[in-house]
């Protein structure tokens, strides 16, 4: 999942003919002044911090400016600040438009129907979760057909627009559908979509593209602003890395097994601090990598729960024992390792002889992991 900043989303919109306010992304207060002075961004203008978190308006990350000096000041006030954990590196300056009405449109996936879903509401500008069910039109789109003309007409009726505004909507939806497909998006959302005169303008742009489709989109490969360094390393190894607020590190293979492991740990009072999910693999080198990555997160104890499919448990156990030796003396931590599958008896024996707590059952293993974390506050 790659969440694009508003300005990147709008760049895509612009390329695909979706109408936008005139604007520019800037990275310094001086650029902001220059953009306003040159008329590139007409005044009055809106100055918006380019962060991924929502609630920018209430959080002071959106400001207004009536002059180049005010634009510069607004940019200075926002740039470099932290907003919900993100540093503001870019600011988007845009003309302030006379808005008659605000709508909502988005395209996303309906997993159950296995169909893209167009959602349209006349109540835009608020979070869509807060809009009543009956105020939202949901149109499933067949991927072999695309957005049919009759569906676009229906969307126009939902918004209560006719004439040139309806035509503008129909054209916009067509382009939005194109963006959704071409960019391999999980979500394209315009909220609010503003009625300005009898035209429509996308005031915001939320585009989330699929991680799995980056082989078709090398341009998204380096948009990773929202990861910690450890998360970045994990991503490169193909390991899911999630930071929680406890102190036990969990390594498991597969999302289901990882979640089940967390569930059991919590049952016995354990508080997971980080979890690493290797995916379905039991590749010993990956298990070892994950272990070393986990060591860098400095957990109180680590609970490793691997179900072996392809690799024999003794092979995984040996790799793990080797990896333990690579952790510097002062940074070592208790390890509870549960490795199941082929040759599991041998694996358990190898681990035990290296001082690792190695049990067969999930329940007793989880108890041991909680106990060993508690031993180091």
């Amino acid at each position: 999942m790659v969440k694009l900043a508003e300005w990147r989303g709008k760049e895509i919109f612009r390329k695909n003919g979706i109408p936008l306010p005139r604007g520019r992304v800037i990275r310094s207060p001086e650029e902001a002044r220059a953009a306003a002075e040159s008329g590139d961004v007409p005044l009055p203008c809106v100055v918006k911090a380019q962060v991924l978190a929502g609630g920018r308006g209430k959080g002071g990350a959106v400001r207004f400016a009536n002059s180049p000096a005010e634009a510069e000041a607004a940019a200075r006030a926002i740039l470099g600040t932290e907003f919900k954990g993100e540093t503001v590196r870019e600011v988007l300056l845009e003309e302030k438009l006379p808005i008659a009405k605000e709508f909502y449109v988005s395209l996303t996936l309906d997993r159950s129907a296995r169909l893209p879903l167009l959602m349209v509401s006349a109540q835009g500008g608020v979070e869509i979760e807060n809009v009543a069910e009956e105020a939202i039109l949901r149109l499933p789109i067949h991927p072999f057909i695309g957005l049919a003309a009759y569906e676009r007409r229906k969307a126009a009726r939902q918004l209560g627009v006719a004439g040139p505004t309806a035509k503008a909507l129909e054209s916009l939806l067509d382009r939005l559908w194109w963006v959704f497909q071409k960019e391999d998006a999980e979500l394209v959302e315009i909220n609010p979509l503003a009625l300005v005169g009898d035209g429509l303008v996308a005031l915001d742009a939320k585009v989330i593209v699929e991680d799995d489709a980056t082989f078709r989109h090398p341009e998204y490969a380096d948009i990773r602003d929202d990861r910690t360094p450890l998360e970045e390393v994990a991503r490169e190894e193909g390991i899911a890395f999630v930071q929680l607020d406890g102190n036990i590190g969990v390594i498991a293979n597969g999302a289901g097994l990882t979640m089940a492991t967390l569930d059991v740990l919590q049952k016995f009072g354990g508080r997971p601090g980080v979890f690493l999910d290797l995916g379905g693999t039991d590749d010993p080198s990956k298990v070892t990598q994950a272990f070393l990555l986990m060591a860098r997160a400095k957990p109180a104890s680590v609970f490793l729960n691997i179900f072996g499919g392809v690799t024999r448990c003794d092979t995984v156990a040996r790799g793990l024992v080797d990896a333990m030796k690579q952790v510097p003396e002062g940074e070592r931590f208790p390890l509870v390792a549960r490795i199941r599958g082929n040759n599991e008896t041998e694996g358990i024996a190898i681990l035990r002889s290296a001082g690792v707590i190695s049990l067969r059952e999930l329940e007793e293993s989880a108890r041991a992991a909680v106990a060993s974390a508690g031993g180091r506050p």
Binding site: R114, D184, E189, E210, G254, A260, V310
Partner: protein, 294 residues
């Protein structure tokens, strides 16, 4: 009887010369599957563990009568591999490949429907019917022939649970791992009726996860259609709420998709829900006894 596969299943392995393809060809054969052909474009004429490799699925099917495919082809080429299989007449494809873009899966899913084909997966462990056939990657070691049907969205957690069933002296009729991707070829509501109709299945174990609404839909179905006893487990009760699809995703679900919602729905449908995976074998044994099956 079993579900989807049986002794007549003739397995084609697409991407057989890759690491995974080769390893699991050996494993499937060891399980007893008839692995009759493999494909890798440009490598026709080779063999892998005695299995002939072809350049195209069409040739493989014509020569060997393959009727089910196990796809290991890397994600960028998986869509094409699947289309090739369907166009060559294959009507069951287990897609093991992970990281297939869901836009590709949409095409695959709807083309499968158009052509009357069935996809299991993607990013799934596949199907195994002990004593009959395996198409996929579930470790052989967890199985023993028996009368417990298992259907799951998980991978390794399935192995864990299936293995637990074996450990208490029971066995499995068929186990299907559906995969947990946003778009799956087969979901619980597709698969549950097969187990209901399978005379070799006495009890069904259903392993779900948080996210999506597949379990809620399954509960709806079970409420109206299923007579056999069902034990369910939902992984992720303790997990932080997922945000995968952002706001628009949240609104589709509207409060569904959480562990609580799924457990409530399943219990409302008369399903016995385990709190932890290790409780499952005991519940299965108990239900079999209640239903006079043991």
């Amino acid at each position: 009887m079993s579900v989807l596969v049986d002794g007549d299943t003739r397995v084609l392995v697409q991407g057989i010369t890759g690491h995974q393809g080769t390893v699991h060809t050996v494993q499937m054969k060891a399980f007893g599957s008839k692995v009759v052909a493999g494909t890798t474009p440009g490598k026709g004429g080779q063999t892998v563990d005695g299995v002939p490799v072809f350049d195209s699925v069409e040739e493989a099917v014509a020569t060997t009568g393959a009727n089910a495919s196990c796809i290991f082809v890397p994600a960028p080429f998986a869509r094409d591999a699947f289309l090739e299989a369907v166009d060559a007449g294959i009507r069951l494809a287990v897609v093991v490949t992970e990281h297939i873009p869901f836009h590709d899966m949409l095409t695959m899913y709807h083309y499968a429907r158009l052509r009357g084909a069935r996809i299991i997966g993607p990013n799934c462990p596949g199907i195994a019917a002990p004593g009959k056939a395996k198409v996929g990657i579930i470790p052989n070691v967890v199985f023993r022939p028996g009368r417990v049907g298992v259907v799951s969205r998980s991978g390794t957690l399935t192995y864990e649970i299936v293995s637990g069933i074996k450990d208490v002296g029971l066995g499995q009729s068929t186990c299907i791992g559906l995969g947990g991707d946003p778009v799956v070829g087969t979901s619980f509501v597709d698969a549950l009726p097969w187990f209901e109709e399978d005379p070799d299945t006495d009890v069904i174990v259903m392993v779900g996860e948080i996210g999506g609404t597949a379990e809620e839909e399954a509960a709806e179905y079970l409420h109206h259609h299923l007579d056999k006893p069902v034990v369910a487990y939902i992984a992720g009760r303790s997990a932080p709420p997922g945000k995968r699809m952002g706001h628009a995703g949240a609104i589709i679900a509207r409060g569904r998709g959480t562990a609580e919602s799924k457990v409530r729905a399943l219990e409302g449908a008369g399903v016995r829900v385990a709190q932890f995976p290790y409780e499952i074998p005991g519940l299965v044994a108990q239900l079999l006894q209640e239903h006079g099956r043991r």
